[in-house]
């Protein structure tokens, strides 16, 4: 089992509320249990093939709809994943709106999973969700993200890949 919760160092705090460090197996199970999950994939997945591969695998295995932010969609064309491009700042705005019908018109989500984002950017965007929505946000990035509900700690790229593999096993 990979331990990803040892290092939760942050450069700065956003206040008192801090995300719960979570292990990959637990995260995997939570994702599987979610009623209306959304995998939000950032453009950093394009910088690492291993990461992209696992991203696609997660989406497929858990049958997760994908919100592809930045230009990450370009890595998922013809991958068989149900992905739609959306700007992450807009998406976070809609996620706070109980009237939003989701990317598929089926209604608002209850859990979002963040992967492949720029660290400070995703933390910032999640800060809005933290205070202005009831959404559960699970960060499976390789950085500790304070403003998520749950997050991996700070890990190396290698450990990150292992952790994602373990997460996939638990889906």
């Amino acid at each position: 089992m990979v331990d990803v919760i040892k290092n939760t160092q942050m450069h700065c705090t956003y206040g008192c509320k801090t995300s719960k460090a979570v292990q990959p197996n637990v995260a995997g199970k939570m994702i599987s249990k979610a009623k209306r999950p959304l995998l939000i994939v950032g453009s950093q997945v394009l910088k690492d093939e291993e990461l992209l591969k696992r991203t696609i695998e997660i989406a497929k295995k858990a049958d997760l709809p994908v919100a592809a932010t930045g230009h990450s969609i370009s890595g998922m064309v013809d991958s068989g994943v149900n992905a739609k491009y959306i700007n992450v700042h807009s998406l976070a705005t809609y996620l706070c709106d109980p009237n939003w019908k989701g990317l598929d018109g089926e209604g608002q989500y209850d859990t979002v999973i963040m992967l492949g984002h720029i660290k400070y950017y995703v933390n910032q965007v999640l800060s809005g969700l933290k205070s202005f929505s009831n959404l559960k946000t699970i960060s499976i990035e390789r950085f500790y993200i304070q403003n998520a509900t749950m997050s991996f700690g700070n890990i190396t790229p290698e450990v990150h890949v292992e952790a994602l593999d373990e997460l996939i096993e638990n889906l």
């Binding site: 160092q9 942050m10 450069h11 705090t13 956003y14 206040g15 008192c16 509320k17 950032g42 453009s43 932010t69 930045g70 230009h71 969609i73 370009s74 064309v77 739609k84 491009y85 700007n87 992450v88 700042h89 807009s90 976070a92 705005t93 809609y94 706070c96 709106d97 939003w100 019908k101 984002h117 720029i118 660290k119 400070y120 950017y121 910032q124 965007v125 800060s127 809005g128 933290k130 205070s131 202005f132 950085f143 700070n154």
Partner: protein, 802 residues
């Protein structure tokens, strides 16, 4: 006395008394009568005067908060925990507090610009007098922002004084609202933020037209000279004087002294940040190439000092690293401060003898000096530079580590990763040290281009490694090649240019204006900006740049060694690339937009803000980009654009302004306006779909830019052109068709010609539109009508009765 105007005069029987008439009550009205200048409803608007417009806009573009901190520590009731949108001890909630925080950033930026303007104006009036005429080139609208907001058409330096007092009054009113126990509603803090942004453009405009008029800057010049830029363009073997900041007032005397004494070959004069830009504008009205060199942007400040090349540093105000004195004095570089905004605790030597000051600085008795006498500064700084160069050589001042020591330094790294946590862009410093230990410098070279040299890594390092020094040392050969060209700031857009281009912009046949503004600090150096500008220029967008963006754009060259400045004309027209100038020259970008309404649409602009903003929002496809991490000034510049109806995209660091303005395209009732011809409602496209937002990557931003320029007023040709770019850019950078392209189609002639048939098929198959395939016409489907003569407006009051 019937020719009495504002200005100064003397009266014989009152000896030694000169009377200044600052303002003639009724003068504006009188002038209006005599010259048919109409006045709009909001002359010198107060904090609430344009609130209806703000609420109108905010109803569609909602404030979106992403707090930097969910606490408030403003007053001693606190600190208060506002997480989960709780209320603090004073009753404010997180949304309200964040709106307040954003507003505070905006007025801080506005105060920086108008404080700069006030300093300049005092200085220039002192030199040239209140009656010095304003001249900014071929335009009848000398100060579009000033006129739009205050109704004043300034003709002399003195006329600006009163407008600036209005600006200061408004800023004070807004700062007052920051106080505990004032505004309770987030939406009204938003309105106040928008007010502050608008005021900022007035302040910037005053600053720039004052200096253009007095300092022989290019005046709406379509071919301003090129200047050298880059750390590589300084000849470090010569005595080097480096100036840093934003206010050229203190520096012109240095340039004059160097000219007069023939020192231009003897020593180097380089600048960082906007002072550098304005140095290249100084006396460039006649298109002579500037002697002064631009070293670079804020991101180059620490690297420049650490290089040890400067022999003397002169700072003025804004965007100056707070540790300049500390860093410089370690390398025995005296620092001269020249502005009360930045004094570094240094002794005021304004009234001292130059020889005494030189004595104290050359002997190291003092680390620097405060000098408010600019004539004295003009002599002091160059003389001191030449002396310090010799002294520093003799002392053998050593900057940066020796190349031979790099490996040893790398070996001390324990790879704890603290530097990477501290790095604003999470750069892979640990890996670079591993490689450096192996003798490979290239990873640090790679980092150099992404690093903004903020120095946080050094404070985080438990082994006290001077990481910035290592990065810089590893990149010496790269740095020596950092040379480019920047076009000196041209100032405003001229009336003839607007007259020619206005129609294309409003009908959409010129697909839009893209303004690249704000600070550098792009994690991908200068390349991102080049990519954006190059792509959009090829597509015939008008590209306008200013400030640090203008600098960075000059740092990247094509295969033929040419910068974009050398490839594209500096004219306000389709495919034109213009540098307006320094930070305060951003006002010329909004100025150009205002002039489109004034000149092309013949709108009255005096005190008529709401109508012009409405016109812009609905008809002028302009979009601003501030890509780097940035100070508070981008917040005010961008917010000023927003109130005027111009959307702005920020880079990902921009999310830390904590507030965006984002619409919900799925709220269909928000995408209606009135047709001013009869007051009927008309559907409009969901574009721009934000007023202030962020993009994750340059690739994502490309299609966003194209979509942001779509406007209800586009004619079919215009819409076709814009849609073509939107679709092509989405395909090129995201690899897919945009999924909302069909929402912008009103009729088959809106469709890109080359793909028309394919697109019609998609509309039929995927969206259920009815097509008359014989005539290749759309029979049903579009949500909007195509009616080029419609007059879209958000303002019921502008509508004729049906």
């Amino acid at each position: 006395m019937s020719e009495l105007t504002t200005g100064s005069f003397s009266i014989d029987d009152l000896e030694n008394v000169q009377i200044t008439i600052n303002n003639i009550v009724g003068a504006i009205e009188k002038e209006a009568e005599s010259s048919d200048v109409e006045m709009g409803p909001t002359v010198k608007p107060g904090v609430s005067s344009l609130r209806d417009w703000d609420h109108n806009v905010l109803d569609r573009y909602n404030a979106v908060y992403t707090p930097m901190c969910d606490q408030c520590c403003y007053c001693t009731f606190g600190p208060c925990d506002l997480s989960g949108n709780k209320e603090g001890a004073c009753g404010i909630d997180l949304a309200g507090h964040n709106a307040r925080e954003f507003m505070l950033r905006v007025i801080t930026g506005a105060a920086a610009h108008s404080g700069h303007g006030r300093h300049l104006l005092h200085h220039l009036i002192g030199l040239y007098g209140k009656d010095h005429p304003l001249d900014v080139g071929a335009t009848n609208i000398i100060a579009p922002n000033v006129q739009l907001v205050t109704g004043v058409q300034p003709k002399t330096l003195g006329d600006l004084d009163d407008v600036l007092s209005y600006v200061e009054e408004q800023i004070t009113q807004l700062l007052a609202a920051v106080h505990m126990g004032q505004e309770g509603a987030a939406i009204d803090f938003e309105s106040k933020a928008l007010h502050g942004g608008m005021i900022d453009h007035v302040g910037m405009e005053i600053s720039d037209i004052a200096q253009i008029s007095c300092l022989e800057f290019p005046k709406a010049d379509e071919e301003p000279p090129l200047a050298d830029i880059g750390m590589g363009c300084i000849d470090s073997s010569k005595p080097t004087l480096i100036v840093i900041g934003h206010n050229v007032a203190a520096i012109t005397d240095i340039i004059d002294y160097m000219d007069e004494k023939g020192l231009n070959e003897t020593m180097e004069l380089g600048g960082l940040c906007c002072t550098a830009l304005d140095m290249t504008r100084y006396k460039a009205e006649d298109r002579t190439a500037p002697q002064a060199k631009i070293v670079g942007t804020l991101a180059k400040e620490l690297k420049t000092i650490r290089s040890g090349i400067p022999d003397v540093i002169v700072v003025d105000e804004q965007c100056i690293r707070a540790d300049v004195l500390e860093e410089a004095s370690r390398l025995m570089i005296p620092v001269i401060t020249t502005n009360d905004k930045v004094m570094y605790g240094l002794k005021d030597r304004s009234n001292d003898d130059i020889e005494d000051i030189i004595e104290d600085l050359t002997t190291g008795k003092e680390k620097g000096a405060l000098m408010f006498d600019y004539e004295k500064l003009g002599e002091l700084a160059p003389r001191l530079t030449i002396m310090m160069s010799e002294i520093r050589k003799q002392k053998g001042i050593k900057a940066l580590p020796e190349e031979g020591d790099l490996k040893a330094i790398a070996d001390t790294c324990v790879h704890c990763g603290a530097c990477e946590v501290a790095c604003p862009d999470s750069l892979p410093i640990s890996e670079a040290f591993t490689r450096l230990s192996e003798g490979d410098l290239t990873k640090f070279e790679w980092i150099h281009d992404k690093c903004i040299a903020c120095g946080r890594c050094e404070y985080a390092c438990p082994k006290d490694i001077d990481v910035v020094d290592v990065i810089e040392k590893c990149s010496q050969s790269l740095i020596s090649e950092e040379v480019g060209k920047v076009r000196a700031g041209r100032g405003p857009i001229s009336d003839p240019e607007i007259r020619e281009e206005g129609v294309n912009l409003v009908l959409g046949t010129t697909p839009g204006i893209v303004a690249l503004v704000g600070c550098s600090n792009y994690p991908d150096g200068t390349k991102d900006l080049y990519t954006i500008a190059d792509e959009m220029l090829r597509r015939n967008y008008i590209v306008v740049v200013s400030g640090c963006s203008a600098m960075d754009l000059g740092m990247y060259k094509n295969e033929d060694g040419l910068t974009l400045y050398e490839q594209y004309p500096s004219r306000f027209r389709s495919g034109g690339l213009m540098n307006t100038g320094s930070c305060v020259s951003n006002s010329h970008i909004t100025g150009a937009v205002i002039k489109v309404a004034a000149i092309f649409a013949q709108k009255n602009i005096s005190g008529n803000y709401e109508e012009i903003a409405d016109y812009t929002l609905n008809r002028v496809g302009a979009v601003g980009v501030a890509w780097g991490a940035y100070s508070q000034k981008a917040a005010s510049i961008g917010t000023g654009c927003n109130r005027l109806g111009v959307p702005v995209i920020l880079g990902p660091h921009g999310s830390k302004y904590r507030r965006a303005l984002i619409s919900k395209p799925y709220e269909e009732d928000k995408w209606n306006v009135f047709d001013a011809r009869d007051g009927s409602e008309m559907k409009i496209p969901a574009a721009p779909d934000y007023l202030l937002t962020t993009a994750e990557t340059v690739e994502e931003m490309m299609p966003m830019l194209a979509k942001s320029c779509i406007r209800p007023s586009d004619n079919n040709m215009g819409r076709m052109i814009k849609l073509t770019h939107y679709i092509e850019l989405t395909q090129k950078y995201l690899g897919v068709m945009p999924d909302d392209w069909h929402k912008f189609v009103r009729t088959e002639t809106d469709l890109p010609l080359a793909k028309r048939e394919d697109l019609l098929k998609i509309l039929e198959a995927e969206h259920g539109w009815e097509i008359d395939w014989k005539r290749k016409k759309i029979l049903s489907g579009p949500a909007m009508k195509s009616d080029v003569s419609a007059q879209p407006t958000n303002l019921k009051r502008l509508c004729k009765e049906a």
